[in-house]
């Protein structure tokens, strides 16, 4: 449900480096965070807490790429930093708005 009142975790140094890797490898061209970014790949806002996918799944893609995703030749260190970044993003909230958060005026209420 709503994450409006969730305490926001401050960025840690490893996640900050991961944010730079995200930008330097231009991940936003293909992936979205909170629905903002490219459409080639899935939205990664909550990939780390996804019960079916999660960190191991994400690491495989970061290491090898996929049929659609090129191998970006990331070092082990960069993969760790990107993982820390995506975990930090994951804790900030949910990218999908729940049906119960839609008000009768068509707006969202994310307080509860």
């Amino acid at each position: 449900m709503g994450t409006n009142n969730l305490p926001q975790e401050k960025i840690n140094p490893i996640a900050a480096k991961g944010f730079r890797v995200w930008q330097q490898k231009n991940c936003q061209s293909c992936h979205q965070l909170y629905g903002l970014g490219g459409y080639m790949g899935p939205d990664l806002t909550n990939i780390m807490s996804d019960s079916l996918k999660g960190e191991p799944y994400a690491r495989v893609f970061m290491t090898n790429g996929s049929a659609k995703m090129p191998n970006l030749s990331l070092s082990a260190e960069q993969i760790n930093e990107l993982t820390a970044f995506l975990k930090w993003v994951d804790k900030s909230g949910h990218s999908r708005v729940d049906k119960r958060e839609v008000t009768k005026w068509g707006n969202y209420s994310m307080d509860n």
């Binding site: 459409y39 090129p70 900030s92």
Partner: protein
Amino acid sequence: MNKVFKTYIIFSLTLLISALVCGVLAAWSFLYPENYKYILPFQQLRPFHVSSAVFWILTGATGSIFCFTAPLLKKKEEIFASIFMIIWMIAIVIVFICYSFGLYGGREYWEYPPAINIILLLGWLFMIRHYWLFWKVNTDRKSVYIWMWLTGIVFFLFTFIEQNLWNIDWFRATFLKEMTIQWKSNGSMVGAWNQMIYGTSVYLMVQISGNKEIATSKWAYGSYFLGLTNLIFNWGHHIYNIPTANWERTIAYSISMTEWIFVIGIIQNFKAKLFGDYKHKHLLPYRFLIAAEVWVSLNLLLALMMSIPAVNRYTHGTHITVAHAMGTTIGINTMLLMASFSFFTKNESYNGLTRFAFRLAQLSLFIFWTGLIVAGILKGYLLVEKQVSFNDSFAATLPWLRVVFYAGIALTISFLFIIRQLFKKVNYQNEDI
């Protein structure tokens, strides 16, 4: 037309060609990534496409403003605008060199290494200086386009700085703050360049019709203030689903519902005033202005729907967002800039191949736009309502995206023809434009 300005206009049109061609190549790579992910890498083509489009709009808007303001200045006073144009052309070339070598580090739409923004910012100060010189000698304070250009130029400076605040650690301490500022600035920046382009369109309407009232009417000022309000407050629809404060959504939602109604009013007012010989004298610019009017109406409807959070829940992050972006950048901004370029290069005849290219552009853009909307509806429904996997939703949209791709090719061909005509006209221009 001085040499720097002539080069700048050719450069600007080249950016439009780059945006179209890179868009087609990126779309091909998007459809067939398995075969082309290394030959035509999407993650490399998309920044080329997006930055070309953004810089086409900005160079087109500033080029038009220069063209219509320079006649009031002495030749030696054009130096500041010339410096701006030279700096921006150099910076943009550096941007594309960086992209060619896979050097990124920036943010969405501005993906190049952020240090280049210092050069662009420096250049913009010279554009401000140019406009200030114009402002001092221009005695007309009643025409709304004077204020629209001023607003656009000043707010671009603010939003461009704001867009780069992420370089300071404090602004990225928490992810929600980071994203909110980023998308607030991007949303407002679009409002800033719209002020420059809509200002130019009002100026053109006055020049074509000979009716100064178009720029001084209550409608004109109502539209201006509504646009300004949207620029300042209506960025919230970009981040509806980010768990920020509810008041942000409420304000954006409320203001969105009034968007662009006055703009349609102004253009309709212009159409009513346009008559007789004037209509035939400037036919191609007129056609582009009328086309923009149709696209304003279509995109207004789409924007209004997307601005309802309950609908945005389905459309956010789908191709409907792309349809909205393409509809505004091509359908509105590019049509208005084409009207401006056709006007000041005196490329005004609307017949034969020009007429065919113009009609092909409108038809292909409509198919392109509709295809994106259908793909977006499908994706939104499958992901939100049916909760299918990303790959399944991707596969379901592919037939519609192929339609978009072929329409994009037709759109590119039609614009290439019109741009070719403009190139010819620019090359024939003498000093006295």
